[in-house]
């Protein structure tokens, strides 16, 4: 029995020592899951009509369902009395009065900011400031009277009395200019003339010792109406800017040639002044490229009668501007500035007139039917921080991308995708393919059918390695109308694009990362 048990024990040891496989459970850390899948990724659709926003959209649909970009801005520029003419504060006269000569009458010149030759003026507001002074205090009250012989106020010749009280050496007195109408032409023979007289109303009570110094100033003058000749000079318009971005089209940089653009400036002139208006428009696209419109100078006639407005339209064409290149740049933002030259032909013609409420303003209307040629319009998008799996350089084992595009948009689309190293900027791998072929069009450029385009791309092993190392995707697309951009097409609201993207991939996942 004991022998048997020993035999049994030895047999057990023998079994236990048989060629055992050694196990290495640390290998579990090396496990990689490698599921694959073929799945649709994106089901994208674009109907051009959907780009039209119900409210406040630059993109509009006309009655034929065609698309057009329409932009209007009223009063892009405006000029008024304040921008053309002003009467600055000024000294009208300064002299000594003595009872020996009880009255002094002078003919003085009204000064303007632009040396205008004024024939008449109606003041809206302002003051005549009278400064009286003596070296010693007045022995008695001294009164003076100011009369503007060519000025009327409230239907009467303008006059005002002021004086220096006894015992005072200085006095300042004020009279309002509001409603004062001065005939500065002296009966049509002169301009800017002020006929004034200062006198002692009580000269008989005064002695020569009661003389004093007098100074007359116009201050804080506002004009209600004025006429005359305002001079030949330039008046600068304020600078400004407006956006012309249209959703979808704003991704374009250049290469879009609109073949029926309308760019109209409309001037409304209520100023009795002729203008030559120079405008400067600079279009800036998404690449910050700038192209100037190069608009010519427009002549704006003046109304013949106060209260009337003369409307002048100016259309910018390919033959009078740089509008083709300007629009081909696909401006997203437009900067504008300008200036007007008044009386460009000098003093000939009727007198200028201007009132406090009259203006010249300029409206802008941009109407761009989307009848176009597209010639290598670039679309670019960079996706940064792209990473398949930073901790696992072998994350992607296989990958194939599938594209199916169905469209009635008469445009070709070629896409180039580049995977880059963002640090070095090196292109690691990439591919390009035609993902959309233009629909056929009729004689008017309207699409007549739909096209379906299938494309796929399978990454090679080397490309997958590069893909795994990439951290930036650069997508460059090029849009053309048919025949390499020669075909002229017109875009309609019903034009659509459907794009399906699917991928077949096998990935490599470290389960410890999950």
């Amino acid at each position: 029995m004991r022998r048997f048990i020993w035999v049994l024990a030895l047999a057990g040891l023998g079994l236990a020592s048989c060629s055992k496989e050694k196990l290495d459970f640390d290998m579990a850390q090396d496990i990689r899951l490698s599921p694959g899948a073929t799945l649709p990724l994106v089901n994208a659709r674009l109907t051009l009509g959907d780009l039209v926003q119900p409210d406040d959209s630059l993109l509009q649909v006309d009655t034929s369902n065609a698309l057009r970009i329409y932009y209007r801005e009223d009063s892009l520029f405006s000029f008024g009395l304040a921008s053309l003419l002003a009467v600055p504060d000024q000294e009208v006269a300064a002299f000594q009065m003595s009872p020996v000569i009880p009255s002094i009458r002078l003919s003085q010149q009204l000064q303007t900011t632009s040396n205008a030759e004024l024939e008449g003026i109606l003041f809206d507001s302002g003051n005549i400031i009278v400064n009286l002074s003596r070296n010693i205090p007045a022995a008695q009250d001294i009164d003076l009277k100011l009369t503007l012989h060519n000025g009327t106020q409230n239907g009467s010749v303008f006059s005002s009395t002021f004086g220096l009280a006894a015992g005072q050496r200085n006095a300042v007195d004020t009279a309002s200019l509001s409603g004062l109408n001065i005939d500065l032409s002296d009966g049509g023979t002169s301009h800017n003339k002020i006929d004034l007289e200062v006198s002692y109303p009580n000269a008989g009570n005064l002695t020569p010792a009661d003389s004093l110094n007098l100074q007359l100033n116009f201050e804080q003058v506002a004009i209600q109406e004025v006429n005359g000749y305002f001079g030949k000079r330039t008046v600068k318009a304020p600078n400004g800017a407006f956006d012309l971005g249209v959703n979808g089209i704003d991704q374009f940089a250049d290469g879009l040639f609109l073949t029926e653009p309308n760019f109209t400036l409309t001037a409304h002139n209520g100023l009795g002044v002729p203008f030559d208006l120079s405008t400067f428009f600079t279009g800036i696209n998404r690449e910050n490229d700038k192209v100037k419109l190069g608009a010519p100078t427009f002549s704006i006639n003046a109304p013949s009668t106060a209260g009337n407005v003369v409307v002048s339209n100016f259309s910018l064409q390919a033959n009078n501007s740089n509008i083709v290149d300007f629009l081909a740049n696909i401006p997203q933002r437009i900067l504008y500035s300008g200036y007007g030259e008044i009386n460009p032909r000098g003093p000939a013609g009727p007198a200028n007139f201007i009132s406090q409420n009259s203006q010249l303003w300029l409206d802008l209307e941009i109407d761009l039917p989307l009848k176009l040629r597209a010639e290598n319009i670039p679309l670019e998008q960079t996706i940064s921080d792209f990473s398949l799996d930073a901790d696992n350089p072998e994350f992607l084992q296989s990958a194939e991308l599938f594209f199916r595009t169905t469209n009635s948009i008469p445009l070709d689309l070629n896409v180039a995708i580049t995977f880059r190293d963002s640090v070095s900027g090196d292109s690691l791998t990439g591919f390009q393919m035609d993902v959309m072929r233009a629909a056929d069009v009729d004689a008017n450029g309207r699409a007549t059918n739909t096209r379906t385009t299938d494309a796929s791309y399978a990454f090679t092993g080397t490309e997958l390695e590069a893909l795994n190392q990439s951290n930036q995707i650069e997508i460059k697309a090029v849009v053309n109308t048919a025949n390499a951009g020669a075909q002229e097409v017109k875009l309609y609201a019903e034009n659509f694009l459907e794009m399906r993207i699917a991928a077949s991939t096998e990935v490599n996942i470290n389960p410890t990362d999950l």
Partner: protein, 466 residues
């Protein structure tokens, strides 16, 4: 996967060697009608019966973790070799308390056990998806996947009775306290796609039920052990002596269920979703919303829900044993055993041949060969060693698997210490044991002679080693 590999250390239930080894009282767990050699036995808490069973039809540890190999190539190879029937089964049980004693013509046993069961299909499509060279989520189908985990405590009371000179019947009632449970009631998940530009159709009909607190309050052991998830089950068996040398026996185990009521949760998805890719309208600016909308739509269409679950009943995995024994002589016998495990409508079959020998009054041996659910070359071995009232036993259905677990697909181990007390030796035993061996017995068995009739009934036929 983590659960799968963590669970490799656990084991469970085949017990082919234990069934016919009536020297060990724990054989009552395989057939409550199994005549016992002991008159009284007391299982030492916890250590009286520790049972481990591991059965993996798909791969061995060495198939995956063999040193110096490529684990991913190994997993790919394993995936390619799997079939629809491959599964992993683990069971661990411990005898918390066990007592048995002879009472007239009957034999009473009672006690408590702790049992952990884990069963999971080794779902080939899933393995192929994760590890296979052609695994693809597209046209993936999870239907048919089953998994169940159950942790329970059960108190039992068993009784066997000798109806006549040949027939012994036995029954055991078990009151179950379920600690934790999870199972996949429905697992239909499929992804279909005809071509890259066709929609991917995702269909689900999934229902996973769980019960039990994953963070039990161990400060209150009574509450942790005696849960409100209660159930009843019975084991039934018989043993019939065809002649002095031939016996047939059978048992039906775990016929019952547990009502799971405590801390239930239900994870459900039933729906159909056609995925065409993330819908993008180029006229809109924010595409991120579309991606989130797709996810929301997926969740809505598939009706994904995580809710507090209702109470549910779950049957235990039933077992059937059927055996025949031939006593060659007083010392040696041969046996054959059929064992079936029933789970989720499937039946797993085991077949075994056993040899038993009483080599001494203090030492008995059993050895055998079995086919366990199709896995071959399972050479089993077991012994019963008595050191006075202390009984030490150990059995395995696959000795090679127990010793060389690296390459094992299946193995089991039953070990334990009992206090076992026997009646006085009788004439048969004297004839079976040589005088030399009697003299070498480490310690005499206590004499506690039953009445003549009782003793004869109890030991008739089956090899007795008292």
């Amino acid at each position: 996967m983590g659960l799968l590999f963590l669970s490799l250390g656990l084991s469970g239930q085949s017990n082919l060697m234990l069934y016919n080894f009536d020297a060990v009282p724990q054989s009552l767990h395989t057939n409550p009608a199994m005549p016992q050699q002991t008159k009284v036995w007391v299982g030492l808490p916890v250590v009286s019966g520790v049972s481990l069973f591991y059965h993996n039809t798909g791969f061995s540890a060495a198939d995956i973790f063999a040193e110096g190999t490529d684990i991913n190539a190994n997993l790919a190879e394993v995936s390619s070799q799997l079939d629809d029937n491959d599964h992993l089964a683990l069971r661990q049980s411990a005898e918390l308390l066990g007592v048995g004693f002879k009472a007239g013509k009957g034999y009473v046993s009672f006690g408590a056990r702790q049992i952990f069961d884990f069963r999971m299909d080794l779902h080939k499509p899933f393995f192929d998806l994760l590890f296979g060279p052609t695994g693809n989520l597209t046209n993936f189908n999870m239907a048919g996947f089953s998994q169940e985990t159950m942790i329970r405590h059960q108190a039992y009371l068993g009784y066997q009775y000798k109806l006549g000179p040949k027939l012994t019947i036995g029954a055991r009632a078990k009151y179950i306290f379920g600690v934790g449970h999870s199972y996949v009631e429905r697992s239909a998940l499929s992804v279909r796609q005809e071509s890259p530009f066709q929609p991917a159709i995702i269909e689900t009909d999934i229902l996973v039920k769980t019960s039990g607190n994953t963070d039990p309050n161990l400060d209150n052991i009574t509450e942790a052990l005696l849960t409100d998830n209660n159930g009843l089950a019975v084991d039934l068996g018989f043993n019939y002596e065809l002649s002095d040398n031939w016996q047939v026996s059978a048992s039906f185990l775990d016929w019952g269920s547990v009502e799971w009521t405590q801390d239930n949760r239900q994870y459900e998805s039933k729906g159909r979703y056609e995925f065409n890719g993330v819908d993008i309208d180029f006229s809109e600016d924010d595409f991120q919303d579309n991606y989130e909308a797709a996810l929301d739509s997926l969740e809505q269409e598939l009706n994904i829900k995580d809710t507090a679950g209702l109470a549910y009943d779950r049957q235990l995995a039933r077992q059937i044993h059927a055996g025949v024994n031939w006593n060659i002589n007083k010392k040696h016998s041969l046996g054959a055993l059929y064992h079936a495990r029933l789970w989720e409508g499937q039946t797993y079959h085991d077949l075994g041949l056993m040899y038993r020998a009483k080599l001494a009054r203090w030492f008995q041996l059993t050895a055998g060969y079995s086919l366990i659910n199709g896995t071959q070359h399972n050479v089993g071995l077991g012994f019963d060693l008595r050191l006075g009232p202390v009984q030490l036993y150990a059995l395995t259905d696959n000795l090679l698997g127990a010793l060389q677990y690296q390459e094992a697909y299946t193995t089991s181990l039953n070990v334990g210490l009992n206090l076992a007390f026997y009646g006085p030796k009788d004439q048969e035993e004297d004839e079976a044991v040589s005088p030399e061996e009697k003299a070498k017995t480490p310690q005499p068995v206590p004499a506690d002679a039953p009445s003549e009739g009782e003793d004869k009934d109890q030991k008739t036929g089956r090899l007795s080693a008292r």
